[in-house]
């Protein structure tokens, strides 16, 4: 179980303030969706939370330990990160792509210890990739690649998983599938942080929601408290209604 805290995080890039005094806590074992308009600073926020971008001011701490003080390998063992539209540049077999998720666990020299093969097999099974294990990663469909990337990110059993737009470019069935898998990870105790444009999906899977606009946190809290008419209307500068019926909830924009 792992707990991530951002305190007074400000990030400036080229004279522009991309994140402005952000204070957030991501409690262990909860799934948090970060929502907001394009250019709000969602990806930057995720990068800072993952320890990949150093904030200009403020600090990020994992279970009370500042990220800046953690060796990059031991951080990599505990935290997994998937950027927006991840790609594989060579036609590496799916199985080896998934194995790359174990990079921070590898000994300094030599090959993958045999004990880890079981982990790789388990990840392949979990994400229905057994038939694809020898397929070059460059020959996968969008939905298959999304599953491979999730398997890659989770094969090392991270305590913290940070994903930027996991459902971008996926059809509804595959988007729902990805959401269900992330939900399952959180239910098993993994702290999950997801940037998302699909608000209906956020309503379906999030425990907590952080609404970001112009580099600042507009609102943060339990999903149903944040995903409401007033916050969403202000966040997107467009009148919004959250409609609840017997099938669940959905967001409709009225413009």
């Amino acid at each position: 179980m792992i707990d991530l805290a951002l305190e007074g995080v400000t990030l400036r890039r080229g004279g522009r303030t991309v994140l402005d005094r952000v204070d957030l806590r991501f409690p262990a074992g909860r799934l948090t969706c970060v929502i907001g308009p394009n250019g709000a600073g969602k990806s930057t926020l995720l990068g800072v939370a993952a320890g990949l971008l150093a904030p200009s001011e403020g600090s990020v701490a994992l279970d009370g330990t500042p990220l800046a003080g953690l060796p990059r390998r031991s951080l990599a063992r505990r935290r997994a990160f998937l950027p927006q539209s991840p790609a594989v540049e060579w036609g590496i077999p799916v199985e080896r792509v998934v194995a790359l998720g174990l990079t921070p666990h590898l000994p300094a020299f030599g090959a993958l210890p045999a004990a880890w093969q079981a982990r790789i097999d388990a990840a392949l099974t979990r994400y229905d990739l057994h038939q694809l294990r020898r397929r070059p990663a460059t020959q996968l469909s969008g939905g298959e690649l999304a599953r491979v990337m999730l398997a890659r990110a989770t094969v090392g059993d991270p305590e913290l998983l940070i994903i930027d737009e996991p459902t971008a470019g996926l059809d509804p069935r595959h988007a729902l599938d990805a959401a269900a898998r992330l939900r399952a990870l959180a239910d098993e105790g993994c702290t999950v942080l997801v940037a998302l444009h699909d608000l209906d999906l956020a309503l379906r899977m999030a425990d907590d929601v952080v609404a970001v606009k112009g580099g600042r946190v507009l609102a943060a809290g339990p999903a149903l408290a944040i995903l409401d008419d007033a916050v969403l209307s202000e966040l997107y500068d467009t009148p919004a209604r959250v409609i609840h019926d017997k099938h669940g909830a959905a967001v409709r924009f009225l413009a």
Binding site: R77, F81, V88, E89, I92, L100
Partner: protein, 328 residues
């Protein structure tokens, strides 16, 4: 299965080529003569040919071909571009410019190793400039800086040819630019080997990072890879190794481009796994080409660099078409 057999197969090929290289040439030796020459301390013709001519030439071919193949594999993995090669960063043109300066100003006439020493300095200088200009860590800015530095060094070489003090100087420059292993001695080996070995160590150290970089820089960084350090290792390793190789043999293109492609499919395209086989394949290409230049006897001797380019360029064309067709 193929991946497991690849390295032993390449080693066997190298042993066969190396034996041929020791026996073949203007004076053909039998295996018995060759073996006798290697163990017999008495200086006769066979012994002289063997120890002072063919052995250093063999060692240089292995070192130069190996480092070219290795550096090509590392750069293609690092830049995630199948068309990357050592020449892209300006190493070869920088070395050429250094050598040309040595020949042009007559330092080469003073002592034999002036040309390789100047070439080495030129190679290191161009890579330092390319690194300084392209250090914003984008692969594109690095490639562009390398191309720009290459172009400047190339212009310098052409200027020297244009204003060559005598036809003889121009001829000597042209000869050096074509790349050759003829008349190389143990002095050349001693000059190049330390740089090539240190360069290889730096290049091989990138293997694991290259695998992770197949997922892009953000994911590699998140997996605990120090991406900036990987760039430094790859570029400094290339500058030292390929710089020293170019310094003693002249410019030999295409080996660094072709060798990784020959082995990539067999290792499941993993960039880190291509390093050792690409090194062996590069050594085999240069060694085979060197033997071929000795055996092809049509008038003047064909230069090694020219021969490799003549065979390598069509392969390059095929590669461009193939990449376009598969969209890889």
């Amino acid at each position: 299965m193929t991946a497991r057999l690849l390295t032993p197969a390449l080693v066997l090929l190298l042993i066969a080529l190396a034996s041929t290289s020791l026996l073949a040439g203007t004076v053909w030796l039998t295996p018995a003569q060759a073996a006798a020459a290697l163990v017999d301390p008495r200086a006769d013709l066979a012994q002289l040919v063997m120890v002072e001519v063919r052995l250093p030439r063999l060692v240089l071919a292995l070192l130069v071909g190996g480092i070219l193949g290795l550096s090509g594999a590392v750069l293609q993995g690092l830049l995630r571009n199948p068309l990357a090669e050592p020449g892209l960063l300006g190493v070869s043109s920088g070395a050429s410019l250094g050598a040309v300066i040595a020949i042009y100003y007559g330092f080469a006439a003073g002592f034999t190793l002036a040309t390789p020493l100047f070439a080495l300095a030129g190679a290191l200088a161009t890579v330092a400039v390319a690194l300084a200009l392209g250090r914003t860590r984008g692969t594109l800015s690095l490639i562009l800086a390398g191309i720009a530095v290459s172009a400047i060094a190339g212009a310098g070489v052409n200027l020297a040819l244009n204003f060559a003090p005598s036809p003889y100087a121009a001829y000597e420059i042209m000869t050096w630019l074509m790349g050759s292993l003829v008349d190389r001695s143990w002095d050349h080996v001693a000059l190049a080997a330390p740089f090539i070995l240190v360069g290889s160590v730096l290049l091989f150290a990138t293997a694991r990072a290259l695998d992770a970089l197949a997922l892009g820089e953000a994911q590699a960084e998140s997996l605990g890879i120090h991406v900036r350090r990987t760039y430094l290792l790859a570029l400094v390793g290339t500058a030292l190794g390929v710089g020293a190789a170019t310094a003693v043999t002249g410019a030999i293109g295409f080996v660094g481009l072709v060798a990784p492609h020959l082995v990539r499919a067999a290792v499941g395209q993993r960039p880190g796994a291509t390093l050792l086989p690409a090194t062996l394949a590069g050594a085999a290409i240069v060694l085979a080409a060197d033997i071929a230049t000795r055996l092809i006897r049509t008038g003047p001797e064909i230069k090694l660099g020219v021969f490799v380019a003549a065979v390598g360029a069509p392969f390059f064309l095929w590669l461009v078409l193939h990449v376009r067709r598969t969209g890889a």
